[in-house]
């Protein structure tokens, strides 16, 4: 199980790479934002993985979970915050994209650059 | 008595799982959009009903069962609605069912 013990971290790394690639290489502005969202999701996965404890359960006390082992609540709190931050960035980014489309008629980065150089 | 409920619930869960699986295969293998939709939506509802009722039997008379009933009601209402809306949108946009020999205006528009 040693290899599998790191599987989540690897998925984090792969997702991070995929998202990062999309942000860097794609010229479409909406696609960049999608890439950014993926990129951030990867980080969420990292944190939540960190908080998991073998054989644990969610850190919410209840009659059915008396005396159980609980996973760490702290990373979950952080990621709750980060998810909301993520959607805020996405919303603002989309707002800017809509304005760019209105002003330039395009949402392709290279076309916009060309228009500005004229 | 509990044994009987358990057995009934297991049977429901298993058939539910089977229905779900069949629906998945159907959605993948059927030849065109509408047949796929048929496969997906019908078994979707059936599978959901079977599995959720199976879980209800496990839950007994508790708040959990009430919540499961709510989910069930919700799924039974929304799942066909979504399928219907989707099919009509596809039809309006001009996707014709396979084997449809009539013109675009003879379709059963909503």
């Amino acid at each position: 199980m040693d290899i599998l013990g790191l599987f989540n971290y690897w998925v984090f790394a792969i997702l991070l790479m995929i998202g990062f690639y999309a942000v860097l290489a794609k010229k479409n502005l909406v696609k960049k934002l999608i890439g950014l969202a993926l990129f951030q999701s990867a980080v969420f996965l990292l944190y939540i993985t960190v908080g998991k404890v073998e054989g644990g359960t969610a850190p919410i006390f209840s009659a059915t979970a008396e005396g159980d082992l609980f996973s760490n609540p702290l990373p979950q709190v952080l990621i709750l915050t980060a998810i909301v931050v993520g959607i805020s960035v996405t919303a603002l980014g989309l707002g800017i994209v809509v304005r760019i489309k209105e002003e330039y008629g395009s949402i392709e980065e290279d076309e916009i650059l060309e228009m500005d150089q004229q | 008595m509990t044994a009987a409920i358990d057995i009934a619930s297991w049977i429901l869960l298993t058939t539910g799982g089977l229905a779900v699986l069949v629906g998945g295969i159907g959605a993948l293998r059927m030849p065109d959009l509408y047949t796929r939709m048929h496969a997906a939506s019908v078994t979707d509802s059936l599978g959901a009903i079977l599995v959720l009722v199976g879980l209800m039997l496990q839950g007994g008379l508790t708040l959990v069962t009430a919540k499961l009933a709510a989910i069930l009601l919700f799924l039974v209402l929304t799942s066909p609605t979504s399928s219907n809306a989707l099919a009509s949108a596809a039809l309006l946009a001009g996707t014709r069912p396979m084997g449809d020999r009539h013109g675009p205006d003879s379709g059963d528009t909503p």
């Binding site: 984090f12 995929i18 908080g51 850190p59 998810i83 805020s88 960035v89 919303a91 603002l92 | 909503p110």
Partner: protein, 325 residues
């Protein structure tokens, strides 16, 4: 066994992510992103993060998809074929990836109960919460009280995003013709079945949102999740009945008031703590019994969070939807 399910789902997630990046049709990319979000959320659930799974489902799969679609409706839904070289991007990405892989070898194994994370700070919360705050959901206790300052900041992040979108899109252009305006505003009125079913469900959705809001101390839920759910319910209404109609029910002014009001409520609770002899955001002093004070404080600030999130998400949605081109 659950670990194996997790691994399977994560593999699906990676496949989906690749497809998202490859899809040239932006609409398809957004749809696949919805799937990716659901997959991540299920994984969160399997990793014992019920609250996060709830948030990811409501925000990631729900609101985010709706926002992306609203933006796509205003722009174009197809990406132009890439012309430029991507060599540098690939190189940077691969190098970063390899470095991370190398470093992961030194990390504690998945679920290791002896890892630093499970032995420092975290256990303190689990141990002390019953005594100090006495609510079952430790996540809510940490969110609302121990790290309440973070949450305050987060509410203001949402608030800032709302201000930003309103600043950019709030004072838009005037529509061209009356006819166009009516068409733009009609929503899904002609789809009879969805409309009837949807209207039937909206009250229950809002009710459920309120349940999530006030049940947040006992089970998964809280202000963010509830805010997102209630906003989703109102968005459903706007989809069915059209923009204009939805705005007459809750006008933008009210939404703006909610945005600011929730954030102000949160801050006020913090200041109340200060005035009553504690530190900022110290709820213990709100009542003679510190534990009850904590609980009161958490309920109040969660309400503030819920109000701001609902108001902001709705305001953002309307800002997009009302901007016909």
């Amino acid at each position: 066994m659950t670990e194996l399910f997790g691994i399977f789902l994560l593999t699906l997630l990676v496949i989906t992510a690749v497809a998202v990046v490859r899809a040239q049709n932006l609409f398809v990319a957004v749809m696949l992103m919805g799937i990716a979000s659901l997959l991540i959320a299920v994984n969160f659930f399997l990793l014992d993060a019920a609250d996060v799974a709830l948030t990811e489902a409501a925000v990631g799969a729900g609101i985010s998809t709706v926002l992306f679609l609203s933006a796509l409706a205003l722009t174009v839904d197809r990406e132009k074929a890439p012309k430029t070289k991507v060599g540098l991007a690939i190189a940077v990405t691969v190098v970063a990836g390899l470095v991370i892989f190398y470093a992961t070898l030194g990390e504690p194994r998945f679920g290791d109960p002896n890892s630093p994370v499970q032995t420092h700070v975290g256990p303190w919360y689990l141990e002390k919460t019953p005594e100090l705050v006495d609510i079952p959901n430790v996540v809510t206790a940490v969110l609302g009280s121990y790290r309440g300052y973070d949450t305050l900041g987060e509410v203001f992040v949402v608030f800032t995003a709302g201000i930003g979108v309103l600043f950019l899109l709030g004072h838009g252009r005037v529509r061209r013709s009356l006819e166009e305006e009516t068409r733009q505003n009609e929503g899904l009125r002609h789809y009879l079945i969805p409309r009837v079913i949807g209207q039937l469900l909206i009250p229950f959705i809002i009710l459920f949102g309120l349940y999530v809001q006030f049940h947040g101390e006992y089970g998964p839920g809280g202000g963010f999740q509830a805010g997102a759910i209630i906003a989703a319910g109102m968005i459903l209404y706007a989809l069915l009945e059209g923009e204009k109609h939805a705005l007459t029910v809750i006008p933008q002014k009210v939404l703006l008031g909610m945005m600011a009001g929730g954030a102000l409520l949160y801050t006020t609770v913090g200041i109340a703590g200060m005035l009553m002899g504690g530190n900022f955001l110290d709820y213990s002093v709100l009542n003679d019994n510190p534990v009850i004070g904590q609980q009161t404080g958490i309920i109040l600030i969660e309400a503030g969070v819920g109000i701001t999130v609902t108001g902001t998400l709705l305001a953002i949605f309307h800002a997009f939807a009302a901007r016909g081109d």
